[in-house]
Symmetry: D2
Subunit: 326 residues, 4 copies
């Protein structure tokens, strides 16, 4: 954890799920919280020191990776994920008082929210037209403006609670009741969060183009050290079709020998590999570690090779029972 940041920023505006995620961080409720208009702006506040850390969404169980975050964190000055937060997602339909569902002809919300409520809308307001909004909160607040050119908005329950001028017409309208979004708190490089025994490590690995099978080589770096992957997403580098980088979450902390060894392997294969942080898992579930990938196994192997290089004799078991020397 960074040394008590005075100021947090987050993907705004206020009232989004991102602010709800930030509120879960110990101390954030009492700290200064500054909304940013987009993910890049939030991360830039961290980079330039005007904020200590930024809360941004990184992955949605329905809509997938948040590409703006995946891309923004993968380039520019290095940053570190220092915490992850999971927030269950539910949506409400809001309108100005007096408006009934049957009156609604145009609905605004963020594209991701629209995608997650599409079935409900098709079944309940099939003729509704979609008006893109820059965020769920902005769409809701926009209803209060004089010249609003839509009749309803889809937003988080918290927004509706805080805006007295809005009435809730329907709750839990998301098509997937178990939807959850994963947020990450991002700071500048510094002291790593300590090992908790249930950690995650995030890296960005550009796919080397100079040889086929590079993706399997990358995955193999984890597999041969018994490091499980909980997320892998491909993203275009933007240079041309078919040029990718991979954003990967692996079980474990870089302080674990098997993870450190896997990262070294990645760096050899793809030298522009970027380390995005090791941090405690939100679900606190620890991974199974096979004996041959334990810290102890790595330490013993390191010592053994060291002794060989020093020319020292090594007391080792016989491997053949056929020809013991009397």
């Amino acid at each position: 954890m960074p040394a008590s940041p005075v100021t947090y920023t987050f993907l705004g505006p206020e009232g989004t799920f991102t602010e709800a995620a930030l509120m879960q961080v110990p101390g954030a409720a009492e700290a200064t919280r500054v909304p940013a208009s987009n993910v890049n702006a939030a991360l830039d506040k961290v980079r330039d020191g005007s904020a200590g850390a930024a809360m941004v969404p990184i992955e949605n169980s329905v809509e997938g990776g948040v590409t703006a975050t995946l891309d923004a964190i993968a380039s520019g000055q290095e940053l570190r994920i220092i915490r992850e937060v999971l927030v269950p997602i539910s949506f409400v339909l809001v309108a100005r008082p007096g408006v009934a569902i049957s009156d609604i002809r145009r609905i605004s919300t963020h594209g991701h929210a629209w995608a997650q409520c599409r079935l409900w809308v098709e079944n309940n307001i099939p003729s509704a037209e979609y008006v893109p909004g820059s965020s769920t909160a902005a769409a809701a607040v926009g209803l209060l403006e004089q010249d609003a050119h839509y009749d309803a908005a889809i937003c988080a329950p918290i927004v509706a609670q805080e805006q007295p001028g809005l009435s809730v017409l329907a709750e839990n309208i998301g098509d997937n009741p178990g939807a959850v979004t994963r947020f990450v708190l991002v700071g500048r490089p510094g002291v790593l969060p300590e090992r908790t025994g249930a950690d995650k490590t995030t890296v960005v690995v550009p796919l080397p183009e100079d040889r086929p099978g590079a993706l399997m080589e990358i995955l193999d770096q984890f597999a041969t050290r018994g490091v499980n992957l909980s997320r892998i997403e491909s993203r275009p580098t933007g240079q041309y079709l078919g040029h990718y980088f991979f954003s990967i979450d692996a079980d474990g902390h870089v302080g674990d020998a098997r993870v450190a060894d896997a990262l070294a392997g990645l760096h050899r294969i793809s030298p522009a590999t970027r380390f995005l942080g090791s941090y405690g898992r939100a679900d606190a579930q620890s991974a199974y570690i096979a004996p041959h990938t334990s810290d102890e196994a790595f330490r013993a192997a390191h010592e053994w090779v060291g002794a060989i290089l020093q020319g020292e004799p090594i007391p080792s078991e016989s491997v053949s029972g056929a020809s013991p020397t009397a």
Copy 2:
């Protein structure tokens, strides 16, 4: 190719890059072309028979996979990709006549287009505010409306040409001059496009959860048959975090023995694997095929195993020079 579809549909409105892609299909210029309001609507027209085929975007060199298409084609009644089209992407800034760049305060366009012109906007109109639009064409046409609440739009050059009421303030404002979008023409299952010798096969493979290392197993099905992958994207199934399917483009045609064999392997590992089509590559570049993955090698191997199962003697080379029988 489907037998001369009378009607094509495409992700509308008219004037987008998608219609430009459709116009590259032989015969499309003379055929009926019906815009659809979203990818699902376009595909549904094909599914219900009201259109013979639909042109939709699937991948952008800057913004990545078009998730609406990837998801829509992966579920519901089966469809087939029968052709791919590549369209270079360039953007223009348009406004109503008389408006100068220095007058602009709010710009509307589709989110993907905004992301691709962000640097140009930051450098040239740093104070501009973004107004989300449902498409680049809709944003441009919207400028002509009475109550337009933005001053400029970012769209394709073709839209500006066809709308006399718009003036072009800047051309080629995309941050990445080589940007290209890949579109696919989607029809109902039927006769497969013929092998051209430079083909692609697209599949959707849900990641089996019952065993670790499943992704490597999936990739290995291609690797052991010498089948190269040109695209791999992860998408959430929407059920919960960490539950993925992979959308994959592989070199070759299912009529190639090595591809058919790889697909059979995928089906065993992940029985819900979905075949989305084999079709000629837009770039017509044929892949290298190692001798041991040629159709001939598969045929010979099949015959050899068949002879063994029939109990037939097999004339084969001696593998040891040590002990030939006189």
Copy 3:
């Protein structure tokens, strides 16, 4: 099983462990049994039709593969292993009546037997000199000759029992009490032994030299089909240092789809691969078969690809819950 061979041959002379192995074959006790002077001679009798099948040793738990057999069966006219037999190995020390252990100065036996009793000899008759013998039985019988130039022999207990002129000075003198030798009954290609559900398949695979990593590719053919290997031995082809073939025992029968598919893969990688037979395991232990490598999984995959090639629609599960079509 071959249709009731009238005549069996075996690696002689009579009284060796090989004859004991042959006696375990149903009907062999009543059949004609002809000893052969070496493995090649035994196999040639099968090849020229003068014997229906030959019993030869293939692997010893202490001394390893029997190279003469591995090489002889890997070259020349094709043969088939149709049965395996395991024989526990124990050794006795024999001499002419009246000779005591303290009298012994020179001991003869086959080289493999000598290696397996070396510790016992070092501890009990440390000054004994080794006289190579062509077989354990020949060494024992040779003691009865007038001009025998050694005092004792190491042989199978059965030889001592059948030779009234020999006395047993020590029993169970093998250094490894659990030693066992595996023998195989070899016939001409013909009807395959039926699947028992607990089978083995033996193949000989020359290592292709035209690309690195070929051994891993070979092993991968088994691994990707879930076929376990119970034996793998390298043998030089005799052409030059570093040029190998591998003799491999795999779990399962070529009539199992996963084994047939693995063999087809081997044939592609190494076209001179030789099939040496599928036969019931001596220990009758059946292997675990993962669902995705079952005959049913292969059949379903084959049908699925067939339907694709025919252009038939395929009812398959949706893999994405995100965007079902209403």
Copy 4:
């Protein structure tokens, strides 16, 4: 190299190809050379200090691995291979003066030599009977004894030259004219031979039994570091059928980072792995090293991970061109 050993031992007797191999070692011609009766005896002289190093055969291009050496070096007190020597093998047929080929009825030689001349004998003296000999030299010298019970011997040309009582009846009678045997000079652990740039490393790796696929895991340790294998041989541990260790020669020196890293991986998977030495190749051919497996790549990867663990910022390239931060 051990510090100038005063005494060498070798697999005797004198006059074998092993002594010829020893004579190629600089200084050996002037040093004390003591023959040993078998490989274990030779290695024991090194272990107890009565010899500085032992020359023993390890691999024959026709007959394969010398199992006595492979087993003896794999168990007991640790030893180190410090040099390899290749000796072309050719055979002559010798007899006492006055004996013609047509007179020969029984031929003695070592079993390996017999196997390598079998075709010549079948074609030229088809009725000859084989009498096992403990070595090629012993068989030849034995002809001079009063009670020799065979008429001819197969041995190295050098033996015939040094024994005036023998006449050469035929030369170059080996079935494989390019036959070569590889010998190794074995010493006690100590200072490693220096890197030459064209080195070999020999290890003994017991196959772990607690998980399937262990052999592929072992091979993968080399493959993922780009370390090529020039020899791999399976040997039974002698404990029971199917329990193996592997004797492996890998390209490179343990002083090479990629080899050291591969050895550490082997030690984790199979902790009883035994290091048998790094030494210059007899053929002085250096291996190709891919950039990502160079010492420099390992060093850079190590530093990178070290900086991460220290919490230092790491200047690294952006991997995404999509969203550079201005």
